[in-house]
Amino acid sequence: MPSADSSPVAEKAQHTLDSYTPSRRALFLAFLQIGVSAFGGALPWGRRILVEDRRWLTSKEFTEIVTVCQAVPGPNMVNLSVFIGTRYHGVVGALIAFAGIVGVPLAILLCLNAVYHHFAYLPAVKSAMTGMAATATSYLLYMSVKMGGSVWKHPLGVLLCVASGALAFFVHWHMALVLLVCGAVGVVIAKKGKL
């Protein structure tokens, strides 16, 4: 995680979403910066670059936008770039922001992948990959526990979580069916204030 530094930034004016419109070039560069600096989850970097460095949004606005992005199907970072891009420059802005955040990291990853495949025949590379896959998988597990957040405080939430996981893993239900059935149960429980 980045440490709080760069004091001259503190003197820049704080903008709000409606008070300031960055140019298309600035929009592209901001999302390019988020893309290439984001290791292990891009949202914290989005906040750092858009709120703290560029000061295009207030922290509160950023949080509100993220909550709305989460309510719409889609990868969070795609949704965030489209939201902010559209807000500033319409559909063109959305394309610019999306290209900014995805383009360069995709090129880097494809190169990395090519290097990996070039050396994949080496036993050491295969071993390193197997080891990395194990620790990366446990990071996903950790993210799942953390994403649960307040779910763990509600017995019904835990039950529903276990049921959804079991239906997908043991019973091989498709995700759509799990979301539909368990999601409906979840919404009913949430409506009653038990979640």
């Binding site: 309510a71 969070n76 939201f83 999306f98 990291p105 990853l109 896959a133 990071y139 597990l141 999601g183």
Partner: protein, 175 residues
């Protein structure tokens, strides 16, 4: 299968999955695993997990492993197809939502639906993790996973350190 058909196959999968993509793409892992490993037999679970790890050590939004699955099947065209297919519907929806932002924000159902879905998405994430763990070759992978899980839980260290540690440990243990 011809490349063109495979591209369509991937595009169809991801356009469908993008509608269900609530709470990130990790809950989609069981369905992606079913498609690439179980149903189409395009890769092994180890390769599948390897691509997820590779995407984590590279910068960028963590959806990019989806592009790697596409690349594995059909090269650069596959990578781009996968990425655009997962992004297209959300892109259109978000452009619409942006224009009705304040109304959606004020809608009390937004909060209720999100709360209700949270346990389900987390359950699906667990299912994805269990699928990947079932592909672990032996006890050494389990040991590494257990050690790194304890570190993620107990420290504020950046995850990259533990993923790097996994690579070194993999070589030392000759996994």
């Amino acid at each position: 299968m011809k490349t063109g058909d495979q591209l369509l196959d991937i595009a169809f999968l991801y356009v469908m999955l993008s509608f269900l993509c609530i709470g990130g793409t990790i809950p989609l892992i069981p369905d992606m695993h079913r498609f690439f490993v179980e149903s189409r037999g395009l890769m092994t679970t180890t390769e599948f997990a390897g691509y997820i790890a590779l995407a984590q050590i590279a910068p960028g939004p963590n959806i990019l492993y989806i592009a790697l699955f596409g690349y594995h099947v059909a090269g650069v065209a596959g990578a781009l197809t996968a990425l655009f297919a997962i992004s297209f519907v959300p892109f259109v929806l978000m452009v619409i939502v942006t224009r009705t932002f304040t109304r959606l924000q004020a809608n009390p159902w937004r909060e209720i639906v999100l709360r209700g879905l949270a346990p389900v998405t987390v359950g699906l994430m667990f299912a994805g993790c269990m699928l990947l763990m079932r592909g672990f070759p032996d006890w050494r992978a389990w040991l590494l996973a257990a050690i790194s899980f304890a570190v993620y839980l107990g420290t504020q260290w950046h995850p990259l350190w533990m993923i790097g540690f996994g690579a070194v440990a993999g070589i030392v243990l000759g996994m």
